[in-house]
Symmetry: D2
Subunit: 339 residues, 4 copies
Amino acid sequence: MIIVLKPRISRKEEQAVLKEIRKLGYIPHVMRGVARTVIGAIGDELTHANLETLVTQFPRAVESVTPIQKRYKLISREAHPANSTIRVREHVIGGKQFHVMAGPCSVESEKQLLQTAEAVKAAGATFLRGGAFKPRTSPYEFQGLGEKGLKLLDKARRVTGLAVITELLSENHAEMVAEYTDIIQIGARNSQNFQLLIAAAKTGKPVLLKRGLSMKIEEWLLAGEYVLANENPNLLFCERGIRTFETYTRNTLDLSTIPIIKRESHCPIVIDPSQGAGRADLVAAMCKGAVAMGADALLIEVHPNPAEAWSDGAQQMSFDMFAKLMKELKPFITAAGRE
Amino acid sequence: MIIVLKPRISRKEEQAVLKEIRKLGYIPHVMRGVARTVIGAIGDELTHANLETLVTQFPRAVESVTPIQKRYKLISREAHPANSTIRVREHVIGGKQFHVMAGPCSVESEKQLLQTAEAVKAAGATFLRGGAFKPRTSPYEFQGLGEKGLKLLDKARRVTGLAVITELLSENHAEMVAEYTDIIQIGARNSQNFQLLIAAAKTGKPVLLKRGLSMKIEEWLLAGEYVLANENPNLLFCERGIRTFETYTRNTLDLSTIPIIKRESHCPIVIDPSQGAGRADLVAAMCKGAVAMGADALLIEVHPNPAEAWSDGAQQMSFDMFAKLMKELKPFITAAGRE
Amino acid sequence: MIIVLKPRISRKEEQAVLKEIRKLGYIPHVMRGVARTVIGAIGDELTHANLETLVTQFPRAVESVTPIQKRYKLISREAHPANSTIRVREHVIGGKQFHVMAGPCSVESEKQLLQTAEAVKAAGATFLRGGAFKPRTSPYEFQGLGEKGLKLLDKARRVTGLAVITELLSENHAEMVAEYTDIIQIGARNSQNFQLLIAAAKTGKPVLLKRGLSMKIEEWLLAGEYVLANENPNLLFCERGIRTFETYTRNTLDLSTIPIIKRESHCPIVIDPSQGAGRADLVAAMCKGAVAMGADALLIEVHPNPAEAWSDGAQQMSFDMFAKLMKELKPFITAAGRE
Amino acid sequence: MIIVLKPRISRKEEQAVLKEIRKLGYIPHVMRGVARTVIGAIGDELTHANLETLVTQFPRAVESVTPIQKRYKLISREAHPANSTIRVREHVIGGKQFHVMAGPCSVESEKQLLQTAEAVKAAGATFLRGGAFKPRTSPYEFQGLGEKGLKLLDKARRVTGLAVITELLSENHAEMVAEYTDIIQIGARNSQNFQLLIAAAKTGKPVLLKRGLSMKIEEWLLAGEYVLANENPNLLFCERGIRTFETYTRNTLDLSTIPIIKRESHCPIVIDPSQGAGRADLVAAMCKGAVAMGADALLIEVHPNPAEAWSDGAQQMSFDMFAKLMKELKPFITAAGRE
């Protein structure tokens, strides 16, 4: 920790601060600068008390306290310099192969799901997405088909050979969801529901962790650390837009997360432009950007008839739009050195 | 719903839009304005499909779709014009009496908790707060004493007569937490963990719902609606700061929520300036503002020795600071017409 | 500056960093910690190069660079421990006396302005506000009466004895505006228009600096520093709401700026709840909060007939609302130890 | 305008609202829905009063007022369905040719500028950027060489044949800056300094308008409208990152502006990833994304020795990094159908 002292404090005040630092287990190291005195407190920040309380405890003497260690370990690029790859059925995510995960926002019926699965497979997707449990802002909105939806996903998987990804909403459903899906998705609203993260990790299935609406990069990495610390090495990050002042789009898709996650961690990163844009007609451009910037996969909402979708219709693509997009993406996938 | 059409579209396109509106169960009502044609779609928006997909479905014809009904019902001032009051043991929150809920961020030991309880009671608090289950950004930080912490809260309640408020983190702990506490707190990170909200509601205990870090007022009201819709009328809203671009404070305490929640809903509102400021030395001014603006209660972090707290030390007040604050608040409580 | 090195770098890389630090004029001071090596670079940060480029220059060796000196001087509480007071005609702002500055958003006509001036004076205001030059988001909206508006403000001042505050929009109008007003207002959109700040400072009139919509506290203090550094000691800060994700109100009024500005600087702080709320019916509660938290003055929009205002009608108070508010504020002003 | 009435209001109250709407020049059109009555107020919103004051004037009767017309005209895609192209010397921006504008943050010396100009030209840039007037957060930071800097830009232009873009900071310098530059840049801090926009427009030179740190898309379009409304059709939008809660990068580069600006307006869009990222090592990925998403040009900071730059060193690229980037961009430019 770095402790910056205020100018013109007495030696006695300085001694009191040094004493408290030692009491909390650090070895203080004093540097006298031109305008300020700075104390380096040497000790392992992950196992010792946080010194930030010094600001409150010595309001006349201490100006600021700054931790210097990174708070995440297993998830960091330092811990695992190579890219992690995640094997799901016959697919590998995070390697040379680029993946598209596509399907409806909600599973609504067998017909809707199978039609969509066939259509996205034909266009080149390798994963089928679809929500069986839906977190809805209002208690009066459609909450998903539950286990019936999971069974339909399983059926679509058997029929088409697509791998499946679906969201987990409740700790109590972790076993059940894991039985039917290939990747467990943790949604943005639950991105710091640590009990749910632990329950998902313990199933052993790969976990795709969406970024919370106002989650800082460091918090996202630490939420991912919960999965790795519970002995599940298969984590995928998924950017889906953050909340900003802008109201033109539902969220602001932060594509800079692609190089940042690659730099800070070894895990794959997936981009969900459907949630980010909130409107299907902007999704295509965002997909191209994500591919060019080095994303490992895309998560795209596709529906047989978006206007009649039971949830989030405005952001779902029709089959035609999706097939057209997949064609347009090809030269960018090649330019990015992917397949 | 109000559908605004783009200028200069053909009659044929307009007819297609009208047909789709009818198909989805609304009666369209056309108004031709100076620069735009507007369609009012008449029908109950809470039971019919959302028309927002028209923007995607008819990209050349439809400019925007705006819902006009409020999405919340039971929580709204319209549904219950008088203020709701919540009876907790011998106290009533939301009436003339002003309440202060105080205690440590985390329950750490019997000594720490009982000392704090006695001190805050002596200074005038009526509720003891303290976390037994702590949601921590990092998996390596102290996660709370769990049930042992709940038992200590119960003991402090018996010894001092203070009512107790503590946080619920897991659906599976709802029964256990309800056994030991008078109010169940749902934290900011779980403010849209709807499964947890439902589990808390079903215990029958009053629920204090903190605002999520990037939660819009409407979303907060709808999250509260989950509690009322699960037959628990005793909801308290708690503002604790939102996430903005500012880094001087940990969060930006949005005191305008006090008149807004009073206007939109009938439920009491509690202000938590400790989380909002992230530093104890700013808390006092914020408490005064909250009282003056009409808050029903304050939630304040107090610790025997903030520098040695196991979590969030920088924002906890010492006993002396708290006692001083309680004295300073009195004239403002009187000016606000409270006791 | 504090430079944190990455773990496991070679001595040679470390030497290269140290050499560069010396080259840029600092004396490096190395501290070897448990998990990281930290370098304190000793030297005056205000006169030497910023070392933040080391992150880019030595991407494998340098993890982060943190400045430790505050970047503002004259505006800081350290430079001037007592509160500054600003004398404007017979009034003193920043002392025991609490002030209310009230008037229309825009000066529209002699009748409108004089009526309003009489009404706000009768209710207890000491300053008349009113825009003669209006910065409007759209080029098609009313841009103010210009010099004619200034002359009307001057007339209202002579008739009522109220002091006057009005906005400066163009460097070329600084002399003209200074001739007619007692305080020059710099609006939120121009809060980092440094040429305008310098022009305002040079008139010698007190300058009220509104916080920009997304201005951090440090940037606001530094913008104020531009005024003091141009030999004008009479600066007032004015919080008027920041831009956040919330859409219920036009902006989020950040009342925590009151204790923060008091802590970091010696200048008075004024709260403008009209701009912050964007709706008159929330203004009253916000005024009470501002008074309780220690603001030195309020800036309130009042109009004879808000519905017919030429700009921002929704946020202007009628005479009756304003007179009622002034009465309600009294007990809070007393509780805050003001007059 | 669409006026939504509150439920259960009396006919008398409704009549009063209708009367006021007529008084303000609109023809009201009443629609009775299931849960609400809605009034369409027919009339040209650009020339009539804004009805938003009805919310304040009739607080018991009016729930909300929503404008339906877009507030911008000349800048809109409706006004000019084809893409606008801007001719600068021998270059055309907004057409098939993709452009890179590169150079130092600040012009520091003849040697620094000429070296950079030669280097960026050799790597494929067509424009030279460089600040002669610098808006600096602190009054104690380097403010630019002023006219001397402009003369150096002019010299570099003559020597290399590159076109020049530089920032205008003061209305009073508009003529001078226009004399030496090919495109006038308006910086983020001055994006709503309307006097400066008008002065820039009147020079007749193309204007590149950076997005303000917290500027909504609509406000940006309206600021651009100030240029077109002052009879200068040559406007370029430039996204350079918005301010969000994230602190990992200096700003959050919002690449979704590319399809949005293309959809709403006919003007070219330029991406400035240097300002957006605030660190050169993330710039490359962002450039690729911008190209893939359809940007018309990039604005990139390049410096002979970033560590010794007089401003913003951390975000400037070295010559080697820039040359490498230009090579890497080629396949993406081709994939995007550009040259």
